[in-house]
Symmetry: C2
Subunit: 138 residues, 2 copies
Amino acid sequence: MERVPVLKIGDILLVSIQVDMSDQTALQLQEDLAERIVATGCDGVIIDITALDIVDSFVGRMLSTIASISRVLDAETVVVGMRPAVAITLVELGLSLNGIRTALNVERGMELLAAARADEYGHDDEADEPDDETTATR
Amino acid sequence: MERVPVLKIGDILLVSIQVDMSDQTALQLQEDLAERIVATGCDGVIIDITALDIVDSFVGRMLSTIASISRVLDAETVVVGMRPAVAITLVELGLSLNGIRTALNVERGMELLAAARADEYGHDDEADEPDDETTATR
């Protein structure tokens, strides 16, 4: 059980991290995700960290790496479900998760990705008028 | 990290099981799920077991219990992502997962739930005409 599953939902790949990430698991996840982005043509990745009590520098770096790989493959990454305590610890540790977008939960993450996609292609296929990308509520 | 997160996506609650289920974790998941169904009013639950190499009688019983609890709360449960080897083992063990619906992946599971909902309410809000609930492809 050392492989984190990548779930396809519409145009989005969803990864829910629940296990302690070892070097091996992290590498495997990066590979799996890159392969799935290419295979499915998805342009959005949501990483759910609700289950994580701690995000240390290793996990922070992994999230950054995943975001960078996705970006190279033309997919946007959003990290969702961060606990308040995790956010506080991150800031205290001086880890600011540079280059990583965050949203409160999966649904907000999906809205963020839809807005980013609409922005990129110059039209909005999810709503009637373009929203500010962080405040869309439906 | 002994709590399995319950993610809300639209009208559906998604649970991705990745950790070894202990009595404690299973009970906690049942409670969390029941509370979320009531709090959100969701009428569909998808349980992803892609990450499971083995589904023994304990996990099988847990899935049945979750399905029964959800049904009492007027929500439908679909188990998705079962590996071929898991299906073979289940049958060999004589566990037939009675009362549990299954689908190949999360997307198929969502289609199944949408079709079941349309069926129940006598109209179809996801497609132009009612589909057979297991074969809907879009």
